[in-house]
């Protein structure tokens, strides 16, 4: 009887090793999706992030679907996604920006250097709006439909391969 117990550690270990091996082969999804998808935008009205463009408010999201881009001048992936945002804008997409914890002069420098695809940019100095819409980092991009409802969330920088997906989501939100 005693000898049966001696196999217990091995059995437990085998179970763990099997589980771990299985999990290692699984694609790991690091993104935390916002629970706000399908919900209307929270109330907000942000001051302009710099002198060149108006600020952003919930009231701006009426009539047609728009992109809401959470970014910052201090964020490196935001530089990487700048060309894709420009491409989206050239295809007629209106992009509203929210600059997180930023300064007007830095915002102006960034836009001068990497292009300005935005129609409006609000300044969110304490990440208030960012947290309220369920974004956990920069950059993130949301598709907002004509009624101000959040329809889709893209986490991380927009790569060239993501542009088509975003256009399709915008079309779906119409």
């Amino acid at each position: 009887m005693r000898s049966v117990y001696l196999w217990v550690p091995l059995a437990l270990f085998a179970f763990f090793a099997g589980l771990a091996a299985y999990m290692l082969t699984q694609e790991k999804d690091q993104f935390v999706e916002s629970t706000m998808i399908g919900q209307p935008l929270p109330e907000f009205a942000l001051d302009p992030a710099y002198a060149g463009l108006p600020g952003a408010a919930k009231a701006d999201f009426t009539g047609k679907p728009r992109l809401l881009n959470i970014w910052a001048s201090w964020c490196l992936p935001c530089i990487a996604e700048a060309p894709q945002l420009e491409a989206l804008q050239k295809q007629g997409v209106e992009i509203v920006g929210i600059a997180i914890r930023d300064r007007p002069e830095d915002v102006a420098n960034f836009l001068a250097k990497y292009g300005n695809p935005y129609s409006r940019i609000g300044s969110d100095a304490i990440s208030e709006v960012q947290l309220a819409i369920g974004s956990s980092g920069v950059p993130e991009t949301f598709v907002i439909d004509g009624k101000g409802v959040i329809r889709y969330q893209h986490i991380g920088d927009i790569r060239e391969s993501d542009v088509a997906k975003l256009l399709a989501e915008l079309e779906k939100a119409r």
Binding site: R2, P9, L10, L19, A20, Y22, Q26, A125, I126
Partner: protein, 662 residues
């Protein structure tokens, strides 16, 4: 050239590990007349030379980091010519490849020490032990050489390095990981010894006495490593907590729990020849936990606040090694442990009984922590994401920790083999009175959470009980190892007191303060004097200057910073601490609000420092225990060699002169 020599040294060391393994295994096969196998003589020298080569390889990598040799991929991606020299050096093990090289360096060094100096074990057991040690080392050499070569050259040398994670540019990093690593490796020696003894069925007190210093040493290093790591997380992360039940923290706690149980179990085996199977089992378990920790940390199967360079392929490699060693060990255990003769018996109420009880409790806590750590992995297999935190760990581990602490207070007072409760009436009454008295007293002053309250009562009782074994003894005659036990148990009480106070009496304040504004916390008035930008060698920061006045006394200036590093870009929060004998004031600066006020977070944590003082006392107790054991051992050896000398002299005399009549 230097890097190539390092790489060659590693390959040679790996080849010697093969020799050590084969030669050690040969020792198990004796000739028909019982003579030793001729191959067996190579095991010890192979281990010693291997130790030199592995340490050499590590020193060469250290040199490459010291001179920032940017033709090495590892240096280019983890260092920077502008970093202070100290952090260039600590950068050697602040990355995956370098830390694995440190691992095998320490592993080979301890194998060399064992082979060079340990003469007490039967040669067959020693051979089996060295074979296992060589087998373990071989796996890690393979891992280094095939999957994470630290000496890889870049085709074109980099112009500049890409830095080191700024969070890790801290003196804590210089000490914390190498300490933990050395502890893990010490457990690997205990593992090899356990397997060696199991293979030859020589599980006896002599074997336990050989194993004990390794377990004690590893345990001391783990204790100090965890203590340092906890303090580092406390002041560097700026969250004000000292333990987060994060997977990586748990990965270091689990081997410690197993090692604590093993240390007590091996003592029983050495002193009383009992708990043979237990000791072997715990020896395997302790090393399994350190390998499991390495796997969890390096493979990225679990998400943690500690961002290591994770790599599923390397994870698969470590999992393979884990399966080979631990799976193999458990298989041999299942096949062989039944054949190990049962040790001496003892009554339930005895020192052995108390130690067994505590070992079961420690194992239960280990199981709780292991389950909590792996549970997210299990649920994620079914696509459910959970996060297991303090609401599970605290009460679940307390269920077992509380009885364990109570028995720990009584255990050292019990006699070996069997005892009667009547003999300890006074001590038992004292312990019970202290627990109940302190809880009643504290509850009288206010309502506090249950666990910290129990902690305070137990801490008081344990502090007194830890000293009771000294009662009625001549202090100068008490063995050093006993002092070690008293000190370590007292340290547990001190640490527990700190944890309970932090849990019960901490005060926290989050305020937006304008320059010139004052906030009050406990009896401290904190005034924000100024906020200024400052620059360091590779960072810039916003620094707040806070004047702290206690009861209107002289101000002390605290300067918490919010730092921004530029290579790589990352921001960290540098907390500022004001340490008093009865606690710490902990201040962190946050962001500036629209209206120009600054977010300041202030904690008053009474007696929080006792957590780490306790940890140091526990470690010191362990060091005393090692020193005491080694001292006794050396004295014994000297006496034995004197005896041999005398016998040889007598024999020489006997050959010359006729034997005197008895």
């Amino acid at each position: 050239m230097i890097a190539e020599i390092g790489l060659a040294a590693l390959w040679l060391a790996a080849a010697l590990a093969v020799l050590q393994m084969v030669s050690g295994a040969a020792a198990l096969r004796t000739g028909p007349a019982g003579e030793a196998n001729p191959l067996a003589i190579y095991a010890r020298p192979a281990a010693v030379v291997q130790a030199f080569l592995a340490v050499l390889a590590f020193l060469l990598l250290l040199r490459a980091f010291a001179i920032t040799d940017l033709s090495l991929k590892l240096v280019a991606s983890n260092s920077h010519s502008m970093k202070p020299l100290l952090y260039k050096l600590t950068g050697t093990w602040g990355n995956h490849e370098g830390s694995m090289l440190l691992w095998v360096g320490v592993l080979a060094a301890s194998g060399g020490l064992l082979a060079g100096f340990e003469k007490r074990l039967p040669e067959r057991t020693m051979g089996a032990t060295l074979a296992v040690q060589g087998f373990v080392a071989l796996g890690f050499y393979a891992f280094l050489l095939l999957a994470s070569n630290p000496f890889e050259r870049l085709p074109v040398p980099a112009a500049e390095g890409t830095g080191l994670n700024p969070l890790l540019q801290d003196i804590g990093l210089a000490i914390h990981p190498p300490t933990l690593y050395a502890g893990y490796v010490g457990l690997s020696v205990a593992f090899s010894l356990a397997m060696g003894a199991l293979l030859t069925r020589e599980v006896n007190p002599a074997f336990a006495r050989v194993m004990r210093p390794w377990v004690l040493g590893a345990w001391v290093l783990l204790t100090l490593g965890i203590t340092a790591g906890s303090y580092w997380a406390y002041y560097e992360l700026g969250w004000g907590g000292w333990w987060f039940w994060d997977p990586v923290e748990n990965a270091s706690l689990m081997p410690w729990l197993a090692a604590t149980a093993l240390m007590h179990s091996v003592s029983v085996l050495a002193a009383r020849d009992a708990l043979r199977t237990w000791t072997i089992m715990l020896g395997v378990l302790a090393f399994s936990m350190s390998m499991l920790g390495t796997f969890l940390v390096r493979s990225g199967v679990l998400t943690s606040v500690h961002a290591f360079a994770v790599d599923p392929e390397r994870g698969a490699f470590i999992l393979g090694l884990l399966g080979l060693y631990i799976g193999g060990a458990f298989t041999i255990f299942a096949l062989r442990a039944g054949a190990v003769a049962e040790g001496k018996r003892f009554a339930a109420l005895s020192r052995e009984g108390a130690l067994v009880f505590n070992n079961v409790m420690l194992s239960a806590i280990l199981a709780i922590v292991l389950l909590g750590t792996l549970y997210p992995l299990l649920t994620e297999a079914f696509d459910v994401r959970v996060s297991v935190g303090p609401p599970y760990f605290n009460p679940a581990s307390a269920i077992f920790a509380i009885p364990m602490l109570l028995v720990m207070a009584v255990g050292p007072l019990l006699r070996w083999k069997s005892d009667k409760p009547a003999r300890l009436q006074f001590e038992l009454a004292l312990i019970a009175a202290l627990v109940i008295g302190v809880i009643a007293l504290v509850s009288f002053f206010g309502r506090f959470p249950l666990l910290p309250l129990l902690g305070l009562g137990l801490a008081a009782a344990l502090a007194v009980a830890a000293l009771l074994p000294l009662k009625g003894r001549k202090l100068a005659r008490v063995p050093v190892a006993t002092w070690g036990m008293v000190l370590a148990h007292f340290g547990v009480a001190v640490s527990l007191f700190g944890m309970a106070c932090e849990g019960a009496f901490s005060e926290e304040k989050l305020a937006a303060v304008a320059v010139g504004g004052t906030e009050q916390i406990n009896d401290f008035a904190v005034t924000l004097d100024a906020v200024t930008p400052v620059a360091g060698p590779n960072w810039t920061a916003i620094e707040a200057s806070l004047a702290v006045r206690q009861d209107g006394g002289e101000p002390v200036i605290l300067t918490p910073q919010a730092r921004n590093f530029w290579s790589p870009p990352q921001s960290t929060s540098e907390s500022a601490l004001l340490t008093k004998w009865n606690g710490q004031l902990y201040v962190v600066i946050g962001n500036q609000a629209e209206d120009g006020r600054w977010q300041i977070r202030i904690w008053w944590k009474p007696f929080v420092t006792f957590i780490w003082y306790g940890g140091l006392l526990i470690g010191l107790g362990g060091i005393l225990a090692v020193a005491g054991r080694v001292k006794v051992d050396v004295t014994r050896r000297r006496a034995a060699s004197k005896g041999d000398q005398r016998r040889a002299d007598l024999e020489a005399l006997g050959a010359a002169a006729p034997q005197p009549a008895e």
